[in-house]
Amino acid sequence: MNYLTRRLVTFPLVMLGVSVLVFISIRLVPGDAITAMLGTEAGLLTPAQRASLETYFGMDQSWFTQYWQWLGGALHGNLGISVTYGKPVLEVILRVFPLTLELALLSMIVALAVGLPAGIYAATHAEKPSDLIVRIVAMIGQSTPSFVVALLAIYALSVWFGILPAMGSFTPLWQDPLQNLAQMILPALTLGFAFAAAVTRISRSAMLDILSDDYVRTARAKGVPARKVIWHHALPNALIPVVTVSGVEFGYLLGGAVIVEQVFALPGLGRTVLDAILQRDYPLVQGSVLFIALNFMIVNLLVDLAYAALDPRIRLGGN
């Protein structure tokens, strides 16, 4: 078996583990879909009324039976019906996911476009005042919570300029790209800010390491121009830790940046999962967490494959 197949084989096992964990943990939280829907009025239900609601939500079965039925459905691509939306879970997830994917991609573009040049610049100007400034900005970027940045951005735009991205009624990219970008650019910058800071720091230190390596010194000694040394010799190797960091961060963003989606009122995956948990919408929680886990595994796999592409010395799996 080659590396790729072996990795792919582990996917279902991990998913199974995740599904069991989620299944149990969401049920361990006190409260159920009935109290979530009726609130304190749930106390007014007669035993017969409660029983009929429990049958409706499938809560009258043992956990094992519930899991078994859910698993059977999931194997056929049926993740169940969301209680709040009254629609198949997969349909709900696929409707909200494009937004989250777009947000994550835009944030990564921002992060790489800003972070990589900044990191290389800082490394090649190490210990000069300009390096210090880049490092301080990166430090601020990494340590400021994204919701603070988000609220500051909203405040500045609405109070000083009297404008705001249209919130609450999201326009998909394919309907009106301009409108869509207008809505996405602020959240993407907000998330990209911290992401770029991480990329800057990691690319600076990776670059510094590599610039002191023997082969770089050799290249320099041979009279290769400084620009070429950096971009052709050092950069590909310096990219490896950057890819790692970006992969982890990107995988995290695919799970939905809950707070930023909340502040900017974007109906993405993060908010959907949060609402599902608060509503005790078990099928939706299970389905979306599984979906997020799958995304994470795919991204990790891609990161590993990217290592091999970037550095021929890394051979995956070995023969």
């Binding site: 006190p30 749930a42 007014l44 709040t84 609405s158």
Partner: protein, 507 residues
């Protein structure tokens, strides 16, 4: 115009292209109200949804037989008139012959009958079922008359029937099982689309028998962060918004083009005691707690004074002057004396539960109460928890004390029978009951003379505040904020947004 310009300025900047400016020539949708709220409805079945957020949406789409006006008097909705028989055991409604569902069908007595039968069917799990148990049978003698035959006189039945939880839905939809997935009502608006936790689109219902709707429709955005709602109001992206957080509401008047509507509500903030266990079994300890708490002080500190001190009955028609009630003026000496008499002069420890963010002021309320009770030696530990967990604990009656925001009703019996009658569904949560309360509630239920009813419930207020199973604190306000473009909104003490049917939007 500012609104459209703003949006497109952003896109123009964002993509740095002139395209955004040409896109400005969007037609102005003059008569659509743009609205925002932070909590979305959780479902469409009017008989099952009890959350404020759901009811506010459903009230625009469905109609009950009766409605309450802004003074909380009963007013016609689907029914144009109603009448109790001499013995109070038959209730006859005449339906408005013009009432129509949004699918064009006339509202028939059979629809009324089917709706109430659905509510009474235990398998439906209708939340308001317990309010309608006196209904024995329903007759439909002709095309405009519905007769309810009751097992006993039941005056509060009328107010229960004015709730959206008693909405009239089409018999055909009940049979088809589509209630909850499609919204067909006879109200001022029809629900065109619903994207949970994102947006709703409502259109004016041309078939509505209640009059002409002032706008073409309402676009509702769900903006979970209330400061973002304020920002949207400021920038003109939203014309009308519902605001829950008093802190955000108090910022609205700072903006010249915005108006804050503040309406006292029926729901009340209360400190609930567990009189079944420990020190609080003692009447004197409960009374000491009542005397130790400065209600106005809690209101000022926790809610910025946004509200007013209340007794148990919050509806204007039945409310009594709080100063006449037991220990409504703080009296620490009396409180300490009572603690001593009860044998707790060294105080005791207790835990108080509160839900995070529901109401937004729950934590600060608990803290002020904690510091006030410390003065008479009661050491309070505050347990904050997520709303669902809180509701779960609360429904089990599993607490020493609970900071709660309870919903109000327009009728005292409907509001309190669940807690203060011995077989009330939530009697175990109330943790207290006595014969006087039980008798007064039953007398109030069957009394048809309004003046006598008022006297009965005044007695109820007096007795229960003296027994102090709960310490009633205050009622707050419901807030709506609107821009100058919006005219004609009347707020409602039930928090209903039905007033939106009369609103017009100018340029």
């Amino acid at each position: 115009m500012v609104r459209h310009f703003g949006k497109h300025l952003v896109s123009a900047l964002a993509v740095a292209t002139a395209l955004g400016l040409t896109g400005m020539a969007m037609p102005a949708a003059a008569a659509t109200l743009k609205m925002a709220w932070s909590q979305d409805a959780t479902g469409l079945d009017p008989h099952k949804q009890t959350a404020f957020s759901s009811i506010r949406l459903l009230e625009l789409v469905y109609e009950p037989l009766l409605r309450t006006d802004s003074e909380l008097n009963l007013a016609p909705a689907i029914a144009s008139s109603w009448e109790f028989s001499e013995d109070g055991k038959t209730l006859t409604f005449k339906l408005d012959p013009n009432a129509k569902f949004s699918n064009g069908d006339k509202v028939m007595p059979s629809d009324v009958k089917a709706s109430f039968e659905r509510i009474l069917d235990e398998a439906t799990s209708a939340a308001a079922r317990s309010n309608f148990l006196s209904i024995e049978s329903i007759d439909t003698p002709d095309d405009e008359t519905v007769v309810f035959n009751l097992s006993q006189p039941d005056v509060p039945l009328l107010t229960a029937m004015s709730s959206i939880n008693a909405a009239i839905v089409p018999e055909s939809a009940i049979e088809a099982g589509t209630i909850g997935t499609e919204a067909i009502g006879s109200g001022p608006f029809t629900l065109k689309s619903w994207d949970p936790n994102s947006k709703e689109v409502l259109e004016a219902n041309p078939e509505w028998a209640g009059g002409t709707v002032g706008v073409d429709g309402i676009d509702i955005s769900v903006l979970p962060d209330e400061t973002a709602i304020l920002a949207s109001l400021r920038t003109g992206q939203v014309d009308f918004a519902l605001i829950n957080d008093p802190l955000v509401a108090t910022l609205v008047p700072n903006n010249p083009n915005l108006t804050l509507n503040r309406e006292p509500v029926l729901s009340y903030h209360v400190l609930q005691l567990n009189a079944d266990e420990g020190a609080m079994k003692e009447l004197k300890v409960r009374q000491a707690i009542s005397c130790a708490i400065d209600r106005q002080d809690v209101l000022d500190a926790a809610l910025l004074g946004e509200g007013k001190v209340t007794g148990p009955l919050t509806m204007p028609a039945y409310a009594t002057d709080p100063s006449e009630l037991f220990c409504y003026t703080q009296d620490l000496d009396k409180a300490k004396e009572l603690m001593k008499e009860a044998g707790y002069e060294n105080g005791f420890s207790a835990k108080v539960i509160a839900a995070t963010g529901e109401p937004p002021t729950a934590a600060s309320e608990a803290q002020v109460i904690q510091s006030e009770l410390a003065e008479i030696g009661i050491k309070l530990d505050i347990e904050m928890m997520e709303l669902n967990v809180y509701v779960d604990r609360w429904l089990k009656g599993d607490f020493d004390m609970a900071v709660a925001l309870n919903g109000g009703r327009t009728d005292p019996y409907t509001m309190y029978n669940r807690y203060w009658t011995k077989d009330g569904n939530l009697a175990h949560v109330a943790h207290y009951g006595d014969d006087t309360l039980d008798t007064l509630m039953q007398e109030g239920r069957v009394e048809t003379d309004p003046a006598k009813r008022k006297a009965i419930f005044a007695e109820f207020s007096k007795h229960i505040t003296e027994m102090s199973p709960w310490i009633w604190l205050y009622t707050g306000y419901s807030y709506t904020a609107s821009s100058d473009k919006v005219q004609g909104f009347t707020a409602d003490p039930t928090g209903s947004l039905f007033g939106l049917s009369a609103v017009t939007v100018g340029e």
